[in-house]
């Protein structure tokens, strides 16, 4: 309970909390340390150990040296693929979601409740139900095996989340504000630009962080709809594990894992508050 007087319970609380924190940090620490150990060093002992001499070369190899499926350009091209998928899809889905969320919450139009209800069903529909249709649609419009195809998928699927986030935020804006602006002759876009957007800072951050993290970390579509060269980094990591299965290069692989995880980890570190808000907003629906 929230009392500071009873020392033994407080010590126990700190002890348990520290133990859990150590358990949560351990995997990250192990990978960071391994990324600085040579493959031989790891092979002689185990994955868990302190680097004897800092093998920074692992990062150079991981970034632009090692081979995945006959291409020896490291993880760099796949990082670029992930960025080229994630950044446009995040921007498009957030902007379109903000406008749609604003329309649904503050303009009210015929069928708004229905269309909003259907769009939010996308939070629940498993990706497996959309895999085959996406395959066929992307092939028919000529976007199969392209980064643009994945941008399209993530933009459309992301709308379920972005519309929900923005709509729930804009609902709290007083209608009088909009009504007054309309009486003054302001139209849909003018109100959005002048009144809504300046109020939207926090929710746009939540939405952008959520979308970026999810699209960057996505694997199933990435591995299904792109061939080797065009794959996002999540798919490349799996391909790398398979490629080196016979002669493991755990040092280099650890460096690759760290590089691949870094963008979302940094976003989490700097935008943690908004990241958590997205998590809980997505859950409560």
């Amino acid at each position: 309970m929230r009392d500071r007087s009873f020392a033994p319970t407080r010590i126990l609380t700190y002890l348990v909390a520290t133990l859990f924190a150590a358990a949560y940090l351990a995997p990250l620490l192990v990978v960071v340390l391994n990324s600085l150990r040579t493959n031989e060093e790891i092979a002689q002992s185990s994955m868990i150990g302190w680097p004897q001499h800092m093998a920074w070369g692992n990062y150079a190899l991981a970034w632009s040296g090692f081979c995945v499926a006959e291409t020896c350009a490291g993880i760099r091209p796949y990082m670029l693929n992930s960025a080229l998928i994630t950044i446009p899809a995040t921007i498009f889905s957030t902007l379109l979601g903000a406008v749609a969320g604003y329309a649904v919450s503050l303009w009210r139009f015929r069928g708004d409740v229905w269309i909003y209800g259907i769009v939010t069903l996308g939070l629940f529909l498993p990706q497996q139900m959309r895999l085959l249709p996406w395959t066929i649609v992307l092939r028919d419009i000529g976007l199969i095996n392209t980064l643009s195809g994945l941008v399209l998928i993530h933009t459309i699927q992301g709308l379920s989340f972005t519309v929900l986030f923005c709509r729930n935020y804009y609902v709290a804006i007083p209608h009088e504000l909009i009504r007054a602006a309309r009486i003054d002759g302001a139209g849909f876009f003018r109100i959005f630009w002048r009144i809504i957007l300046p109020l939207s800072g926090p929710i746009l951050l939540v939405t952008v962080i959520w979308q970026f993290t999810h699209i960057w970390n996505e694997f199933l579509y990435g591995v299904t709809f792109t061939p080797g060269q065009q794959q996002p980094v999540t798919a490349a990591l799996i391909a790398l594990s398979a490629a080196v299965a016979d002669i493991p290069q755990h040092g280099v692989q650890s460096a690759a894992v760290i590089i691949a995880a870094l963008p979302t980890l940094l976003i989490y570190l700097f935008g943690g508050k908004y990241f958590v808000r997205g998590l809980t907003a997505g859950a409560v629906k």
Binding site: M1, R2, R10, T13, Y14, A17, L25, P27, L28, I42, S45, S46, M47, I48, L96, V99, A100, A103, V104, W107, R108, I115, I118, V119, L121, G122, F124, L125, P126, Q128, M129, R130, L131, L132, P133, I136, I156, R182, F188, F189, T213, N217, F219, L220, L237, I238, P248, V257, A260, A261, T264, L265, Y268, L269, G272, F275, V276, L279, T280, A283
Partner: protein
């Protein structure tokens, strides 16, 4: 728009429509695309599941043959049993872990922000990364078992990753590590919103800390608990990346899960009809969780409206 009259100042209706075309497009195109893809893709997949499609989708009707084939396959049966075990174990353990962490952080301890950041960071990491890292840690040849052997305890055994009977538990471990922070975040928000008056009242009545938690605070958390359970079950039912990176369904097919069966049928065995049937079965399992939840939310919403 309901109040077109207030903005269209007496001009002909058609020119008002044209003038407002950009906003109609901006609103309707994304919403309609989103809604249309959800509905049509679901119907499409359901339709394919009733056709004799193999390498490519073909027209035709085979009734429930694909479903029977999937349900009769060893692959699916193992996947379903695994899902039951994984779903229940993962949800229960991540609930308990999350609740424990939330209660710890609720003690106004020093460094709360740092601890919360630590417990939540796995959520920012992809399942592929989580699965890869845990596949190293749990690999008896290079991971924890090897470390303990090197430290001198040579009879130590921790080979779940390569043990058919225990491998599914490695997925439970990695999944808990990844997402118990989510349960913690929701529980902590719940704990922080408990009315401090009822806590004081309980303390005045002489209830100790444990008793106050058990009798007064925790009962207020059950709506949050249900939400957490549903979200975590939703994850468990569609788990794919994590298993793909951690065990890839192995050893053998010991850690097969429905999402892997779907992928295997669709893209490795070119059995589109059966793959679609397996996807629909996944959806049905999901609905078995979500429909009662939706009904519960609806009833609660009505009760709140009447209260």
């Amino acid at each position: 728009m309901t109040s077109a009259a207030s903005t269209a100042t007496g001009r002909p209706a058609t020119s008002a429509m044209v003038r407002r075309l950009p906003e109609y497009l901006m609103i309707w195109v994304p919403l309609l695309l989103s809604a249309a893809h959800l509905i049509s893709f679901s119907i499409w997949t359901i339709w394919i599941s009733f056709t004799p499609s193999t390498l490519v989708p073909v027209a035709g009707w085979v009734g429930l043959r694909n479903y029977n084939a999937v349900l009769a396959s060893r692959n699916w049966q193992i996947a379903f049993d695994n899902l039951l075990l994984f779903g229940i174990a993962f949800v229960l353990l991540s609930l308990t872990t999350g609740l424990l962490l939330a209660i710890l952080l609720d003690q106004r301890i020093r460094g709360e922000n740092v601890l919360r950041t630590i417990f939540l960071y796995p959520l920012a990491v992809s399942f592929v990364v989580t699965g890869t890292v845990w596949s190293w840690l749990l690999n008896p040849g290079i991971g924890i078992e090897k470390l303990v052997h090197d430290l001198g305890w040579t009879t130590f055994h921790f080979d779940w990753l390569v043990n058919r009977d225990m491998a599914i538990w490695t997925i439970v471990i990695a999944a808990i590590w990844q997402s118990s922070g989510f349960a913690m975040a929701l529980f902590l928000a719940g704990l922080r919103s408990v009315d401090s008056d009822i806590i004081k009242a309980a303390q005045i009545d002489g209830a100790g800390p444990i008793r106050t938690y058990w009798r007064v605070i925790l009962p207020t958390l059950w709506p949050i608990t249900i939400t957490v359970v549903v979200v975590q079950l939703q994850f468990a039912i569609s788990a794919f990346d994590l298993v793909r990176a951690l065990t890839n369904g192995g050893p053998g097919i010991a850690t097969q899960l429905p999402a892997l069966v779907v992928y295997d049928l669709m893209f490795q065995r070119s059995q589109l009809g059966r793959g679609a049937a397996a996807a629909v079965l996944m959806l049905l399992i999901l609905l078995a969780v979500l429909l009662p939840y939706a009904a519960w939310r609806y009833v609660r919403g009505r009760q709140a409206a009447h209260a």
